[in-house]
Subunit: 126 residues, 2 copies
């Protein structure tokens, strides 16, 4: 792979990046559908992900590219990638090896917040 | 509900907002797990979502709060909300009425991108 490769212009034209040039990447386990984590991609991270089949993100905190699993061994083998209707989010379906979260849990979404559910809402407002 | 209510300070302290004060909200159908869309929330959108059980977002394009389904009828009745490990993303589990996408499709993630899958990667690099 040369350093001059670029993301397919047809794909690049459909991305709606934020001020930092990033789109959100929702990551799910391809077969169970479990939502594992959310990360960020710029054009180059997406190009690497599509061309290598290994999930590659832009780390906003470290300011560098990050191949998921490169240090932890918790690889993400990419099965499919879909862009959303307005181009600001990607859905990455992967085969996740081990925990997706750096805290050691399978998914990063473990902090449940209290919610007044729809049923309660409907009852109390009827 | 008064206009002076605020998001629980214990929750607000755990949010890691972007420069626009927003966190990403991944929305999935609660029973099938299907990922429907990605939207954005500030503190007030999250407070309204948690306290009403109706998914409420901040529209970056329109610059206003947006109760999903208020105009389309495609309501999202919230079943649960989870914050991720670093506080910059929420997973909203909903009961979605009708299509989630404004284009009329069930999910917003319909634009499949070509990917060199992990199997092919493993074969070609062995």
């Amino acid at each position: 792979m040369s350093g001059t490769e670029q993301l397919d212009p047809g794909i690049a034209a459909r991305l709606k990046r934020d001020r930092d040039g990033l789109v959100a990447a929702v990551v799910r386990q391809h077969d169970t559908g479990e939502v594992l984590m959310l990360a960020w991609m710029d054009d180059e991270a997406l190009r690497r992900t599509l061309s290598t089949g290994r999930a590659t993100y832009w780390s906003r905190s470290r300011g560098e590219y990050w191949v998921k699993g490169a240090t932890s061994g918790h690889h993400q083998f990419v099965k499919s990638v879909a862009l959303d209707c307005d181009g600001d989010a990607l859905l990455i379906s992967v085969d996740q090896v081990g925990p997706a979260c750096h805290t050691g849990t399978r998914t990063c979404f473990t902090d449940e917040l209290p919610v007044q559910t729809g049923e309660l809402f409907q009852e109390s407002h009827r």
